[in-house]
Symmetry: none
């Protein structure tokens, strides 16, 4: 079943923006053994769009088209499809109604332009009739077309929830596909590949590697007819991998690192406070991205200056002068200080040099100390990270949260409950 | 002069690897007014490659083909081109010689596979005969083909040094293209388009709209022969837009909102401290993403609990009970408190309900108060944002930083300098 993807947008074909949709769909389709034969990127140009739609009709059984469904005059996908396939456009009344309600709720006035958002070709099926995200499917001659929005999070969500299951159905013969994504931190793609190659073969399981900075993700895709058997195969593989790599496997639970930390904090009943220097608030930001974080997160302090470390975290001035702001001793004092100030059980701290300036021969850019104060005591670890300012911030936050996750895992017997 | 790019590689069409070549070339070509009409990504598959090469021959005057020139069996570009265009392949003797010397120097033995690296179609011209990087150009019928390696740094270097100058020559009569991106916050794409449609027409200027949550970006592209005239046209348009929309235009300066805030803080000499509740550290994180932020950013506090607001920011307990944590009065007290604690000139605070829980009929999810304490006094503003937890955090941080930017803009006469 030959398929292809057409990504539209002048910002894509001029190189201003990187495509995030075609690549996403191509990867997901590849994982379920429905690889696409081509990805075509074209601008918001009716003639060119018509040309690629016509070509796709002749050579593919399914075609994903992303972008160009918006309300402005440079959104050309719908007019191009209507012209090329001789389709009449109609306004979907449900969508129109929802749009009007949505705008009213937001206090915005109606504008005729918005009416374009409710247009679909006659005979097309909305992909998400309940919520009214734009996007529809359409069978023309022998080819299935899926028109999807260009905004990546909308496109990905519609693709995962509607398009992918439909294509798997279309490909036929009710084969079941089960997929699991395992998340690793602290192991490279090549190292992970070496580990996997040493495992006992699992026939019918496809394995994919995807760097997702700062993590490495691995997908296991199993195909067959019996859901229970597939789950068992994936469970066995996950356990085998976990035994081989140890703590660099963040999962097998679903969820981001901050969600895993949140789960562990809820289990143990410990309350967290965070003191950040070089990460500048990123750790607090990640912790508070988790709904319900207020149950266990007391708060944090971003102390960029020495004075703030002294005033807010009670780091002794003499220590700062003797050891420096970027030192194991200061990291420990910050962790203890923030725990006390916020009346928490656990204090997590980072202090380091994110760059691009501020490095010295003894403490180059990327030097970071992480401190962790728990009811059992206080400790600090030294790290040297590489990369630009934002990468060093990201790696530091990830490493700090990961240490906390491991520590909480071991401390589960010592909970406050 | 219509052109297109064909990027080959199974790792691209399966989404495993992001294309780094086609986008690079497209951007550079766009900058010199030689935009490509399409980018096609296909796998290492002779039939598919022949199909796209044949199509390109019919519709384009220049075609860049990247990848598939290596020595292994999945490198299919050359066999596909030879078959489709009925070209005889010959071994370039200079390349062969250099290859053998190279391998000898590295202590590697000769292998017949390497001979493939010296193959080029009869009549083709090596792009880099001196160094022997693979890649060649070829005029077939009326179309120029440039075959380039897939390794990004080799491709970029050959493209910049050989292909781009050749294409500029080919296009002749150097038309100039000038592009400017304007960044807006607080106006939708549709509203912006309405504003633009009311402006006096600027012939020869193309306008593009790009949502980039939480901002809306607009690009102005002018083409002509006189750089000064083009700049003047874009300046006039930018000024006219700025007059119409007012402060929702973040630019015309380049740079992110946090960079603009940083510039203003440096200009005024004011030092900033931030108190965050519902944004959980995001504002501090964004402010500290800017290199050199330590010059003006003193630090911040994330106070998730009432107790922390009392302990760290000296928010009166009575006020918290009387007005609630999410109130204008608390926002003001937090802004004043954080300014004092960090010995700063400006205190910025946010307190609100990011959801998904915690909303009430009077204060639904998305209710946010932002406080700003400056040497001139303290103020708080009420907002109601919509969306999920992360969207509300993003919108709150953006709105707070934007208010600070505007306030600093007005306060430039009152600097500490």
């Amino acid at each position: 079943m030959r398929g292809e993807i057409i990504a539209t947008g002048t910002e894509l074909v001029t190189g201003r923006t990187a495509d995030q949709n075609a690549r996403y769909a191509a990867r997901r389709l590849h994982e379920v053994s429905l690889p696409v034969a081509a990805i075509t990127i074209v601008g918001d140009d009716v003639a060119m769009l018509r040309e690629v739609l016509a070509l796709a009709l002749t050579r593919s059984r399914f075609v994903l088209v992303t972008g160009g469904l918006g309300p402005t005059e440079d959104d050309m996908t719908l007019p191009a499809a209507a012209a090329e396939f001789h389709l009449k456009l109609v306004q979907d009344q449900g969508t129109l109604q929802r749009l009007k309600e949505f705008l009213k709720k937001r206090g915005r006035s109606w504008n005729e332009r918005y009416g374009r958002l409710a247009l679909i070709p006659e005979g097309a099926t909305l992909l998400d009739p309940g919520r009214g995200a734009c996007g529809f499917s359409l069978k023309h001659q022998d080819t299935w077309f899926f028109f999807l929005p260009g905004v990546p999070h909308e496109m990905h969500s519609l693709f995962d929830n509607v398009v992918l299951p439909a294509l798997i159905d279309l490909a036929g013969a009710g084969e079941i596909v089960t997929q699991r994504t395992l998340r690793f931190f602290g192991i490279t793609e090549v190292e992970l590949q070496n580990v996997v190659s040493e495992l006992e073969a699992a026939p019918g399981v496809a394995i994919g590697y995807y760097p997702s900075f700062p993590e490495t993700h691995l997908t296991l895709t199993a195909r067959g007819e019996d859901q229970k058997k597939l789950d068992a195969v994936l469970d066995r593989l996950t356990r085998a991998l976990s035994l081989k790599v140890g703590e660099v496997l963040l999962g097998p639970e679903e969820g981001t690192l901050e969600e895993l930390v949140g789960l562990r904090l809820k289990e143990t009943g410990f309350r967290l406070a965070v003191a950040e220097s070089c990460t500048g608030g990123l750790i607090c930001h990640r912790v508070t991205n988790v709904p319900g974080a207020s149950d266990y997160f007391m708060g944090g302090v971003v102390t960029y200056s020495n004075q703030a470390k002294i005033d807010l975290l009670k780091v002794p001035e003499g220590l700062l002068h003797a050891r420096g702001a970027v030192s194991a001793e200061t990291a420990q004092a910050m962790a203890l200080g923030v725990r006390e100030v916020f009346r928490a059980d656990i204090g997590l701290s980072v202090t380091g040099i994110a760059g691009p300036t501020g490095g010295t021969p003894e403490k180059p850019v990327g030097t970071v100390y992480i401190g962790l104060a728990t009811p059992q005591g206080v400790e600090a670890r030294h790290h040297l990270f590489h990369g630009g300012r934002e990468q060093i911030k990201t790696l530091t936050a990830q490493t700090a949260l990961n240490w906390l996750r491991q520590e909480l895992h071991h401390a589960q017997g010592l909970s406050r409950h």
